[in-house]
């Protein structure tokens, strides 16, 4: 898998941002959180490579450490969505009948709503916090993962080994977890790497809409949200570098996800 050029580029980009998130504080030129109210909105210069923001903070330093929240939240949210979705998919695919019908309708209902609208409702209701972001994205991913898993389980449930397990009087939980799950793990893995790409997308979007990550985080989406009112005034540097950082990360994650899919599905 690592031999593919795309995957290599993806892994390099992600690796770069992970290192920045973990150790960025050690090599940034300024404290990313320190304000300087007498030097606000300075254009890029030798002193401040990417300029300064409305509070005089050094944008280069903030971009470097800005991946910290998104790289924590997106994987956790994906994990949550995958766990819940797999459970739901196993249950609906295995039992079918009324349980399946009812749950499938609820899944459809959730899928009929775009993520952003679910997020708007949930974030107004729950209040903004990192936990809310995780719950919202996990919740939105659950039905999507569940659908994939259910389709795979439907196929498996008709196979002989499941019938054999039933004849052995194994409990339903045992059959689902021990017998079926290992056989559907490959689509689950593919789905979850693809979801990770979307999760990055979603976290960035939610923090842009202004409902997630709290200030003074250097998060890129939050940075764009706080500064994009300024671009007509000519303060382009307050948003451009955050935007490019997001582009690099999402492209990196998706190159990796493509590689995973090709490897597992081959």
């Amino acid at each position: 898998m690592l031999r593919s050029r795309g995957v290599l580029v993806g892994v390099t980009i992600i690796g770069f941002w992970i290192v920045c998130a973990l150790a960025g504080n050690a090599f940034v030129p300024y404290d990313p959180y320190a304000d300087d109210l007498l030097a606000t909105l300075q254009p890029p210069s030798a002193e401040h490579w990417f300029g300064t923001d409305q509070l005089g903070r050094d944008i280069f330093s903030r971009v470097i450490v800005g991946a910290r929240d998104i790289l924590t939240l997106a994987p956790v949210a994906t994990l949550l969505g995958t766990l819940c979705g797999t459970t739901l998919g196993l249950v609906t695919g295995y039992f079918r009948g009324v349980v399946d019908d009812v749950l499938s309708r609820v899944i459809d209902a959730v899928l009929a709503l775009p993520l952003v609208i679910i997020a708007l409702l949930a974030l107004v209701a729950l209040g903004p916090s990192n936990l809310t972001i995780i719950v919202v994205i996990g919740f939105a991913f659950t039905p999507i993962v569940a659908r994939t898993v259910r389709a795979a389980v439907l196929n498996e449930a008709q196979l002989d080994y499941v019938a054999a397990a039933r004849l052995r009087d194994e409990t339903a939980v045992h059959i689902m977890v021990v017998e079926i799950l290992p056989n559907v793990i490959s689509p689950v893995l593919v789905e979850s790497t693809v979801r990770l790409g979307y999760a990055i997308f979603a976290v960035a979007t939610l923090s842009f809409i202004g409902f997630g990550i709290q200030p003074p985080s250097a998060d890129w989406g939050l940075g764009i949200s706080e500064n994009y009112g300024l671009i007509t005034g000519g303060f382009w540097w307050t948003v451009l570098f955050d935007a490019l950082a997001i582009v690099s990360l999402v492209v990196g994650v998706n190159l990796l996800a493509d590689g995973v899919r090709e490897t597992l599905e081959a």
Binding site: R105, I224, Y228, I231
Partner: protein, 317 residues
């Protein structure tokens, strides 16, 4: 076919009903209350209680829900709490705005990506092909607000070619409105370009390799005619599928675009209604999104089946 249609419709109604219950439930946990949202934080508690009584929001939840849904099924979406006016016209205008934006995006992206996909397929494996595929893939995964910001900077602020605001000034006319929608539609175009071009490319490659194309070329038909007749038709199918499956996404993307470009669409409406706890407006807004989604999926499925005889019989559930 009609039995299938009937079943699909029944399921859709069930889905929409569940959606209405979910939204109602979500509406109850939103902070604040409708009268407080109208009167503001500094108003006296007594005045707030009086207004809640006037609005009927102090009644038991089930009564409120029944009151709302019994009117809704008769085609009456109720009165907005905040605006004290029928919710219908607000929804219609907001949904109209959103659909217009979506339509502009599709008008641009469909020919563009079909062309790109077919072109890539004709040059399969060469540089053009790889460039289109790679660009399409990258553009698809970039959040709309990020590409939107870059587009605003380049075309709105630096080159000054296009207006930054999605809303034309009052009295500007339809043409002016369309002009204002070009920039806001571009992020959607970017996201969709990758999907549609990829499918069109795959469809074309398959069609080019197919027996009937070779036969046609061997029969001496000009290559251009063959391409046009067979290949484009096949490329169109996946596009319709994309329209169906991506509507949900599209509406979500529209919300972000509406926020970025300050456009008064359905997303903005739902957001303000949720904040104001304007329940009738919120329900009507969310359900209209649900209905559009369900209808789009349904129509796309039917069209797909009509255009492609192979799936007609296999299209169980």
């Amino acid at each position: 076919m009609s039995r299938l249609l009937f079943k699909r419709l029944a399921l859709s109604f069930a889905t929409l009903w569940i959606l209405s219950v979910l939204v109602f439930g979500a509406g109850q946990v939103l902070p604040g209350d409708p009268a407080r949202a109208i009167l503001g934080p500094l108003a006296e508690a007594r005045a707030v209680a009086v207004l809640n009584h006037q609005l009927g929001t102090d009644r038991p939840l089930l009564v409120q829900y029944w009151d709302w849904i019994s009117h809704f099924v008769r085609g009456d979406p109720g009165m907005s709490y905040a605006y004290r006016a029928p919710a219908g016209p607000f929804i219609a205008s907001a949904l109209g705005n959103s659909l217009l934006l979506g339509a502009v995006a599709f008008l641009i992206v469909v020919p563009l990506s079909l062309f790109g996909g077919v072109w890539a397929a004709l040059h399969a494996g060469r540089f053009v092909d790889r460039a289109i595929t790679l660009l399409g893939l990258s553009a698809t995964v970039i959040p709309e607000f990020v590409s939107g910001i870059v587009l605003i900077l380049v075309f709105g602020v630096w080159l000054r070619w296009l207006p930054i605001s999605a809303t034309a000034p009052r009295g500007g006319g339809f043409g002016s409105q369309l002009f204002h929608l070009i920039l806001p539609s571009m992020p959607l175009v970017l996201v969709l370009f990758g999907y549609i071009a990829r499918m069109a490319r795959a469809g074309t490659v398959e069609a080019l390799a197919a027996e009937y194309t070779r036969t046609a070329v061997l029969k001496g038909l000009p290559r251009r005619d063959v391409l046009f007749r067979h290949v484009l038709r096949n490329a169109l199918l996946p596009t319709i599928a994309v329209i169906g499956t991506q509507t949900g996404y599209l509406i979500g993307g529209l919300v972000v675009i509406e926020v970025l470009f300050r456009y008064q669409g359905i997303g903005t409406l739902i957001y303000t209604a949720a904040r104001a706890k304007d329940f009738p407006l919120l329900e009507a807004g969310v359900l209209s999104v649900g209905i559009v989604y369900t209808l789009a999926t349904l129509i796309a499925d039917l069209l797909y089946a009509a255009l492609n005889p192979r799936v007609r019989f296999g299209a169980g559930e």
